[in-house]
């Protein structure tokens, strides 16, 4: 499916959650699930969520989303993006069966994982980073170059921690990294991420509030 089709198919804001399939130290799955739950609550008034459809952070976040859906008997407003011919882990399908929609939506994005990362950066209105490895950094940097806001759960380790440190000046800014550092938002908890989304004029506009 083309970028245009994916972008037009889902209600905005489209929030992508990115993180490691094999998380690095510092990662707390409970926090990821909590964030998934709260993000799903956030998009109840409008918006969509997606992950890269791999195990690890993405799956934990989706578990939180499904937890919300089970409690409220609602649809997940969620999709995963994977390259053509690659299927998400079975756990995604099992979780999706517990939601009102009952099915997992898988968007075919690119011919390989690298191409998929291009899609991730372009489709999302903003990216939420939890933990993450090199691939996550790649997605986040692409997002930044595309002018997307990157919300980092700073204490979750990995890429999220590094991007936060970069924003706070604890890691020297790369001389050839020509992006607006203000696009990186450092958040210390899921609540802080949700608080930022709720109170930000931009997302209110996107949801028609």
């Amino acid at each position: 499916m083309s970028l245009k089709e994916i972008i037009e198919k889902y209600p905005h804001p489209i929030i992508g959650v990115i993180g490691a399939s094999t998380p690095l130290p510092g990662y707390n799955p409970r926090e990821a699930k909590d964030l998934g739950y709260k993000l799903r609550d956030f998009v109840e008034k409008g918006g969509s969520l997606f992950t890269g459809g791999v195990p690890g952070v993405g799956l934990d976040v989706y578990e939180g989303i499904v937890g919300y859906c089970e409690e409220r008997g609602v649809e997940d407003k969620f999709f995963v993006m994977l390259p053509t011919d690659i299927s998400p882990p079975q756990e995604y399908f099992d979780l999706a069966s517990r939601t009102k929609n009952g099915k997992l939506i898988v968007e075919s994005a690119g011919k390989d994982m690298e191409e998929r990362r291009d899609y991730v950066a372009e489709v999302a209105d903003s990216l939420v980073v939890i933990n993450g490895g090199m691939g996550t950094i790649d997605e986040a940097v692409k997002g930044l170059y595309s002018g997307k806001e990157v919300l980092c759960l700073s204490n979750s380790g990995g890429a999220a921690e590094i991007l936060s440190k970069l924003r706070l000046g604890e890691i020297p800014k790369l001389s050839d990294m020509d992006v607006d550092m203000d696009l990186i938002k450092t958040c210390n908890s899921p609540d802080e991420i949700i608080g930022y989304l709720i109170n930000n004029k931009l997302y209110k506009q996107l949801r028609g509030e």
């Binding site: 970028l3 882990p89 490895g133 440190k165 607006d180 996107l206």
Partner: protein
Amino acid sequence: MSRLQDIFDGGKDIDREEFRDEKPRIFYEQERQILNGMGEEYFPPARDISKEKEAPSKSEDYIIYAPSKSKKISKEKLYGNVQDLSKHLFLTPHHEDKIFYKQNEIIKTKNTTYMISLESLLTKYKFNSSKKFISRGNVFMGGINLKYDQDTMVNAGNIGEFVLPIVEYIHAIKPDYVIASDRGARLLGLAVFELYRRLHGKFPTSDGTLRFRRFSKSNTKKETEDHLRSLVKDMVAVEDNPTVLVLDDWVCSGGTKVLAEETISRLARQYRGDKVKVDFKFGVLMGAGGDISGHDSKNSGFAGTVDWRDDSNIIGVKYGENWGGSDIKGSAVRSQGSKKYRKRMYKGIRKLTKKINEAEQEKAAA
């Protein structure tokens, strides 16, 4: 001002239709080039709208996506940024010298977003082989994925070519332990071990072995733990934070990965406390053709039609008495089929090694 603010004209109210009807800013071909990394610039400069008006009016000629204020940036610059930031991933207390050294060593050779690319792993091999077999997939922090098309066929004769990237990956990262998931990856593991031995000598694990263990949801948690206990005890006795590569022939659910990670980590903590960190890597075959089943429908035309997925008579090991048995401990199946398969496999690997060595000699002579 962020991109989204830009897109929607600052604080102006959003009109969805206006958004949809916005003039297309990028042609399909350009999008394809960007995504394939073919364009000289990673993101193209903003287009001149007046020229777009002259473009063909057929809607299918256009791909509209969110209007972009993307910055002009070369691929090299983007990858450089990613690499520079990623170096900090390995400077945490959990990833001291050993891992950093390994990754840093790899970084020197890589030329893609990933730690190392399959191509860079295989650059030194100039022998005549189908790229289709050996260059599909990717290498990333979590391990190596090899991806195959539906029409890909693996058999005893060519399995060496399929496992060559895994062999080179092992040679690059030198894991402390390699575990092949039984039964599916039994022959994969044997092929990896044999090809490594022929190309590089002693297997680089701490004890020079490749282990086979069963990871199956059909076994209870306790059965799996008991099955792995002695191996994990050995692991943490030798290395404080061992790097463990798990090989599997077919990943459809990620279940093996999760089971292996959880069980080994839990056991390691039992022996060495909470501070122990097992660094897992996974080497898997995936995709529609990742099933190296050798079913008749996939293997016609190859020298020996084989079927070693779930066939104990070919794999040479079984779990329980019945097909698909769920015992945790395996028993050898010394059938004619398994012996013949192994003979063909080792013969194929010898041929491949010979081909590689000859190519190396030619290169040296030149």
